[in-house]
């Protein structure tokens, strides 16, 4: 596709800090290359703002390869924008039309408190992981051969698919209830499917769900929006699996 240039208007949420009141601010941009990524477009905006002596727009980003989960942004009413299976860094300006107004907001959820402009604190995800999203076996120096433990191919594949979750928080941002169940279920599933994760499976699901509730995420109502907006295509199968694991665990736990 040949490179084109488009004129757009950005409507961006600006907020000085957590305590200040924020507002939407308009930024017209001329001749934006359709080959540029969304974050590159924001880089250009910030360069302009800095040159004019204004405060640049704060937004999260890191790898810019779609694998770190750091970039967020709610673009035109969708987490990571209108494209499917991509993070914001992998979203390109060719998805937008000449003359279009693009609304950019931070991921909104009480469990993701806003720090500044478009930057939110997604530490609640880390605290959920800390409650059991790991395997507490010693892997240093005495690891056994991976093939010594036979695992059905379908289980290995499903566990791997669940493990591709990058914890970006798009599921929470897009859910009408700000529910974190897709994220938590992916983290529960990636271990529940494998024999190494079975040892602590009961406590894991109970502890992680409990922490999720403590953080103030909403309840799942199975709208399926999370699965559609997830940049990694994490399936609702994982939520069903977590529900089963939770039901089983809450019955057998002492």
């Amino acid at each position: 596709m040949a490179e084109k240039f488009i004129d757009i208007t950005l409507k961006i949420w600006r907020q000085k800090d957590a305590k200040s009141a924020g507002k939407m601010v308009d930024y017209p941009m001329k001749k934006v290359s359709t080959d540029s990524s969304f974050l590159e477009m924001l880089d250009l905006l910030n360069e302009d703002l800095v040159n004019k002596g204004e405060e640049p727009v704060a937004f999260d980003h890191d790898c810019r390869e779609g694998i770190c989960g750091m970039c967020s942004l709610f673009i035109n009413g969708e987490a990571h924008g209108p494209d499917r299976g991509v993070t914001t860094c992998q979203l390109h300006m060719r998805m937008f039309k000449n003359g279009e107004t693009i609304t950019i907001e931070p991921f909104r959820a009480n469990a993701f408190p806003l720090i500044k402009d478009l930057v939110t604190d997604r530490g609640s995800f880390d605290r959920i992981i800390q409650k059991g999203g790991f395997v507490s076996v010693n892997t240093s120096g005495n690891t056994q051969d991976a093939n010594a433990l036979p695992i059905p191919k379908v289980d290995a594949d499903n566990a791997f698919d669940a493990a591709t979750c990058i914890g970006c928080g798009a599921c929470v941002a897009t859910c009408k209830n700000a529910s974190a169940m897709l994220f938590v279920s992916a983290k529960v599933s990636q271990l529940a499917l494998l024999p190494q994760g079975k040892v602590e499976a009961t406590e894991r699901v109970l502890n992680m769900v409990h922490q999720m509730d403590m953080e103030g995420f909403g309840n799942c109502t199975n709208t399926g929006a999370c699965e559609v907006e997830c940049p990694k295509g994490i399936s609702l199968d994982n939520i069903a699996r977590m529900n089963r694991e939770y039901l089983k665990a809450s019955i057998i736990a002492e």
């Binding site: 709610f74 009413g77 969708e78 959820a109 469990a111 209830n177 700000a178 799942c220 939520i239």
Partner: protein
């Protein structure tokens, strides 16, 4: 681990919401089957209605369970909706929900409340009438079987559907019920963790069929009695 009780967690509550939903799905099916009898045969409808109305097991064991099921489903639904709204204080300026989910799935509270409002009218029309008839005026002796009118049900039903406005309200309410079921049926299976590549597509089709056929059938029954009497 007492703080992890099933009623105290988000996952547990959605499982309970689904279980009460399953119960109401089964109830609705038997309610529909009995109502269809009124179209086929007055005698059959009267016999079954009298049985449902005076059988002690139905009246004193199943009816309280049903009332509890209805109240639980709506109270839990409202509570979860309240919690869900609370989870995002600051709303989005622009939110394109239609891009990733169905209208029905996003508006269960609206369709649910509409069905609840309908239940108010429905209880006034039929349930309260039965309670007055049996417990306030008829007394305990009506349960012995002698002396009560066992053929009143069919014409009481027909009388209700003479008024066109009542028929319109009933029909509209069944549309809301249909929208509620279009999401609720398959959602309940997901909530209890029943999801399988082989069976889930079948459940979704079955749910769509149930959500259309049952409310459409109730609409047919209301219209049938309106235009036949």
């Amino acid at each position: 681990m007492s703080e992890y009780g099933i009623t105290k967690s988000s996952v547990g509550r959605k499982i309970l919401m689904a279980l009460s939903g399953f119960f109401l799905l089964v109830f609705l099916l038997q309610h529909f089957a009995i109502n269809m009898l009124s179209v086929i045969s007055d005698d059959a409808f009267n016999t079954v209605s009298d049985f449902m109305g005076y059988n002690p097991l139905v009246q004193f064991a199943l009816q309280p369970v049903l009332i509890f099921g209805v109240i639980f489903h709506l109270a839990m639904g409202m509570y979860l909706e309240f919690q869900n709204t609370k989870a995002r204080n600051k709303k989005y300026a622009k939110n394109n929900g239609a891009a990733n989910s169905s209208w029905m799935s996003r508006n269960m509270i609206i369709t649910g409340v509409m069905v609840l409002l309908f239940l108010g009218l429905h209880f006034y029309d039929f349930w309260w009438h039965e309670i007055t008839e049996k417990y306030l005026e008829g007394g305990a002796e009506s349960f012995t079987g002698s002396g009560r009118d066992t053929t009143r049900y069919s014409h009481e039903l027909q009388e209700k559907f003479v008024d066109i406005w009542r028929v319109i309200i009933y029909c509209l309410s069944f549309v809301f019920l249909s929208l509620h079921l279009l999401h609720g049926f398959q959602s309940a299976f997901q909530s209890v963790g029943f999801r399988h590549s082989k069976y889930t597509p079948l459940i979704k089709k079955l749910g769509t069929a149930y959500a259309i056929i049952i409310p459409a059938g109730f609409i047919f029954i209301a219209l049938f009695h309106h235009f036949n009497h």
